[in-house]
């Protein structure tokens, strides 16, 4: 049995997870629930001009997400055509969860904590919401890691059929 590489599939999944996770954040937290916008702690959307300013940065954030998804699909296509790459479903799902969690963790750490561009649910108890967001990101990373480990079974040459 020769080991097959899963790196390209994990890498594709990470891009897909980051892009789709970003879209989830933008659609659910920015637009549907309207908890925050991209720069809502810097320029709170309390008038039309500030709202348009936040809309612009929400749009650019979604543009980044769109490129991440396109890159993920392209990387997946390239990976599927590479020799010696294990096309394992748990590995891809794990990579996506890992990407979503890693994206949320970086976004939470950089944009929420370090730069204070926005907070998950601004107002009283916003730190609790921000820390909960980071904890959720760690859970996603752990779940992704576990799924990738489970996919390791599919990375060996199948036994010859008798």
């Amino acid at each position: 049995m020769s080991a097959l590489s899963r790196g390209p599939i994990i890498s594709s999944g990470i891009w897909l997870g980051a892009g789709l996770g970003g879209f989830f954040d933008g659609i659910v937290l920015h637009q549907v629930l309207q908890w925050h916008n991209m720069l809502s702690s810097v320029r709170p959307p309390i008038d039309l001009l500030s709202m348009k300013y936040n809309m612009l940065w929400d749009g650019l954030f979604h543009a980044f997400c769109w490129f991440a998804v396109v890159l993920g699909v392209w990387r997946l296509w390239v990976a599927a055509r590479r020799p010696g790459v294990a096309c394992s479903t748990p590995t891809l799902i794990g990579g996506m969860l890992l990407g979503w969690g890693a994206f949320n963790f970086c976004e939470g750490l950089i944009d929420h904590q370090l730069l204070g561009l926005h907070h998950v649910h601004p107002g009283p108890g916003q730190l609790t919401w921000d820390l909960g967001f980071l904890a959720l990101a760690l859970v996603q990373i752990a779940a992704g890691w576990a799924a990738i480990a489970r996919g390791a079974d599919e990375t060996h040459e199948p036994r010859s059929e008798t």
Binding site: G7, I46, L48, L49, F64
Partner: protein, 82 residues
């Protein structure tokens, strides 16, 4: 059609809107000034998590190539079919 000033006044009172119209000269000028405000910084801040993902996947690609990458020769299903 006459603009209903009372509507804008009521809205401003209710939700704190100001009557900045992006299509009028004053509003557009203010809008352009806002756009130029920390644009590069904001772009880097919004893009930072994606840069982190780029570094992570670049690292995985380096490891894949370092481990031999194309040395593995098992064909994928479509290649096997060919």
């Amino acid at each position: 059609v006459a603009r209903d000033e009372s509507f804008f006044a009521r809205r401003q009172e209710a939700v704190g809107f100001v009557n900045h119209c992006p299509r009028c000269a004053l509003g557009r000028q203010a809008w352009l000034e806002v756009q130029g405000d920390h644009f590069t910084f904001n772009a880097l801040a919004v893009g930072a998590p994606f840069l982190a993902i780029l570094l992570l996947t670049a690292g995985i690609e380096v490891v894949y190539r370092w481990q031999g990458g194309r040395k593995h020769t098992r064909p994928n299903s479509h290649e096997a079919a060919e």
